[in-house]
């Protein structure tokens, strides 16, 4: 860590990890409710748990992205953050707003929460992933603006690197598309149409730029490969992401009342979306093979390579699986979707967050470059436990989804929904058990921050 103001990232990272735990706990609650319908009845309805699970995910990823930006932008720009105090202030506003919102979800009924927060003045509540009360959304906008201002000014006054510019582009896009969460037309087709502008254009558009920038940053730092080479890759990856991802939105417009040509556009363009993810995989392994130094932080390297592989599997392979209109006709909204959602979110965005946390945290905690060997080994156990769990969760859900599509949607006499759910309950049990392993992995991961604190850093070639 070269600049004092980078330290603010630590707050964001720690809060992100706290929310990560909350997310997983609620995932487990839901997983159990899938197979034991009255679990926690009447205190914790499924829809509330789902809301907490997904919103905690989104918010903690946003926190991690902000932390990443506060860490890497000054380092890339070679200057202190423009306004460190603003970053700290915004953190507390964000964290308290997130806490209050979750408390609202848990303590009030959703309709009471809507009344309390005066949703009828500017109705924005009630849509998946965007359930937050309007006032929380406004808070997010304020935080995002202050954040962009801070980062933007820092970049302006310092060195302008491709990584910083791509990151800034991604973050700006993130903020801009979020604005569509305030647009809530009564026409259901239009409603869904623009809802995807937030959800899809985030994860298959601007977030990929953020992902690419963070990955490139960590790879430059850990491999010492020429910036020029890495930047070139970054250019191609973002170009390909935007070309395929923007029109690829069409893969959500097959059956919602939009014109038929979307079946073609969506199928063709989204079928190409795996390309940029594949390029990222090739890119990461290429850089690591060409490395000029051996960085002592082996764990960060593992996370970086893990991201490259798992993002391709989750987004690229599992996305492709159901992205062609004739296939999606049978799989739309089934457990296949959930399988893909889990592996893609984990593989791309959870893992890139953990990558930058793994790389930056040692420095933020006052070490030179890396944690002690013991801590790193522990962290890598966490990596494997969580990653293998998510792979199995994905496989079980895929199994459930294939059966679901087959029994419920194909053949002469399709089986009714609830009957099918009973038949595939075994897969839900397996998912839940694997979810417990995931939680164990998470605990192991978190514990790595507390072991071997006083032990020396592993001795490898010199770090920066």
């Amino acid at each position: 860590m070269k600049y004092k103001s980078q330290k603010v990232a630590r707050l964001y990272f720690i809060a992100a990890l706290v929310l990560f735990v909350a997310q997983i706990l609620f995932g487990l609650i839901m997983g159990l409710q899938y197979v034991m319908g009255d679990f926690l009845f009447p205190y914790m309805p499924f829809n509330v748990a789902r809301m907490v699970h997904t919103n905690a995910l989104i918010v903690w990823l946003l926190m991690a992205f902000m932390g990443a930006a506060y860490y890497l932008v000054p380092e890339e720009a070679e200057t202190e953050l423009a306004m460190p105090w603003l970053a700290t202030l915004m953190f507390w506003i964000f964290f308290l707003a997130a806490g209050a919102t979750v408390a609202g979800y848990l303590l009030l009924s959703y309709s009471d929460l809507a009344k309390l927060t005066m949703n009828d003045m500017l109705p924005t509540m009630g849509r998946e992933f965007l359930e937050q009360p309007t006032i929380t959304k406004l808070g997010i906008v304020v935080v995002a603006l202050a954040f962009l201002l801070n980062i933007g000014l820092t970049i302006l006054k310092g060195r302008k690197t491709v990584i910083n510019l791509v990151l800034l582009m991604g973050l700006t896009g993130l903020a801009v598309f979020f604005l569509f969460s305030f647009y809530n037309p009564t026409n259901v087709v239009l409603d869904k149409y623009y809802w995807w502008w937030v959800v899809h254009l985030w994860v298959e558009g601007v977030w990929e730029l953020i992902l690419g920038a963070i990955l490139a940053f960590v790879l430059i730092k850990t491999t010492g490969v020429d910036r020029e080479v890495i930047e070139k890759w970054l250019y191609i990856i973002i170009a390909m992401t935007l070309i395929t991802g923007i029109i690829g939105t069409g893969h959500h417009y097959y059956w919602i009342g939009t014109p038929e040509y979307w079946q073609w556009w969506g199928s063709i363009f989204s079928a190409m979306e795996p390309i940029p993810f594949f390029m990222m995989t090739v890119f990461a392994f290429n850089m690591v093979n060409k490395r000029r130094r051996n960085h002592p932080n082996k764990a960060a390297m593992l996370w970086a390579l893990g991201t490259a592989v798992m993002a391709f599997l989750g987004a690229g392979v599992w996305g492709f699986l159901h992205t062609l209109a004739p296939v999606n006709y049978y799989t739309h909204g089934s457990q296949i979707t959930a399988a893909h959602g889990h592996m893609a979110f984990y593989g791309a965005y959870v893992m890139i967050s953990l990558t930058i946390i793994s790389y930056a945290m040692p420095m933020l905690m006052g070490r030179t470059a890396a944690n002690s060997n013991r801590s790193q080994v522990r962290e890598m156990w966490g990596f494997w436990l969580m990653t293998i769990s998510i792979v199995f969760i994905t496989l079980f859900l895929t199994g459930a989804g294939v059966l679901q599509a087959f029994l419920q949607r194909m053949g002469e006499n399709p089986t009714p929904f609830m009957v099918v759910q009973d038949k595939i309950a075994l897969f839900y049990w397996l998912r839940e058990i694997t979810g417990v392993v995931f939680l164990i992995g998470l605990i192991v991961y978190l514990s790595s921050f507390f072991v071997g604190r006083n032990e020396p850093e592993p001795e490898v070639a010199v770090a920066e």
């Binding site: 070139k232 890759w233 250019y235 191609i236 170009a239 390909m240 070309i243 395929t244 014109p259 038929e260 040509y261 073609w264 556009w265 199928s267 063709i268 363009f269 079928a271 190409m272 390309i275 390029m279």
Partner: protein
């Protein structure tokens, strides 16, 4: 011509195609999108042969001819631009590039006139499957022509600033390769959509 002797000397066998390898990876990715589009066209036609054959007749083949010639010619100009810079003739290089961009404009104008004609008849993406493909394919390509022209303009601009020479001209070759790709795609698109029946 004095330039050519140098040109051919520079062109010994190589392991990588001219220009930055990065642009080639990009070109491959782009070409695959078009390949899928072409195959989709052909296999969809299979179920609507009559419809495709009928509406193909409504396209303006003359415009397409002009446009094909425009792109081939501009591609040729770009080849000459590369040859010029290899002979250390930056002025010539810029002139050839500008000529190529001019041909790009011809393409855009002619194509826009075609679109104007179709739109004035009320044709749109939902008219029928043939028009859906015709409009999508050609418009996606249209965007690439614009993109290619921007790239060529950037190269010409840098050439003007003296960034390229007989020894360092990767940038010119990079832009040239992209532009040839735009041409290449059209060479298949033209017969497939306008002629083959």
């Amino acid at each position: 011509m004095a330039e050519s002797a140098v040109v051919e000397q520079n062109d010994k066998e190589r392991r990588y195609p001219p220009g930055d390898l990065a642009i080639w990876i990009f070109i491959l990715a782009e070409l695959s999108v078009f390949a899928v589009f072409f195959a989709a066209y052909a296999f969809t036609r299979l179920n609507h042969v009559e419809l495709f054959n009928e509406y193909q007749q409504h396209l303006d083949r003359r415009s397409a001819l002009i446009n094909t010639l425009a792109l081939i010619t501009s591609s040729y100009f770009v080849v000459r631009a590369v040859a010029a810079i290899k002979a250390d003739n930056a002025k010539g290089c810029i002139r050839w590039l500008l000529a190529a961009i001019g041909m790009g404009f011809v393409f855009l104008v002619v194509k826009s006139m075609e679109y104007a004609h179709h739109f004035s008849l009320g044709v749109n993406l939902s008219t029928n499957t043939f028009y859906m493909f015709y409009l999508s394919l050609t418009f996606f390509h249209f965007m690439h022509v614009m993109m290619g022209m921007i790239i060529l303009a950037a190269v010409a601009f840098k050439a003007k600033q003296g960034a390229y020479s007989a020894t360092e001209h990767t940038g010119v070759e990079t832009g040239a390769s992209y532009w040839h790709m735009v041409d290449l795609v059209w060479l298949i698109l033209f017969p497939l959509v306008y002629v083959m029946r």
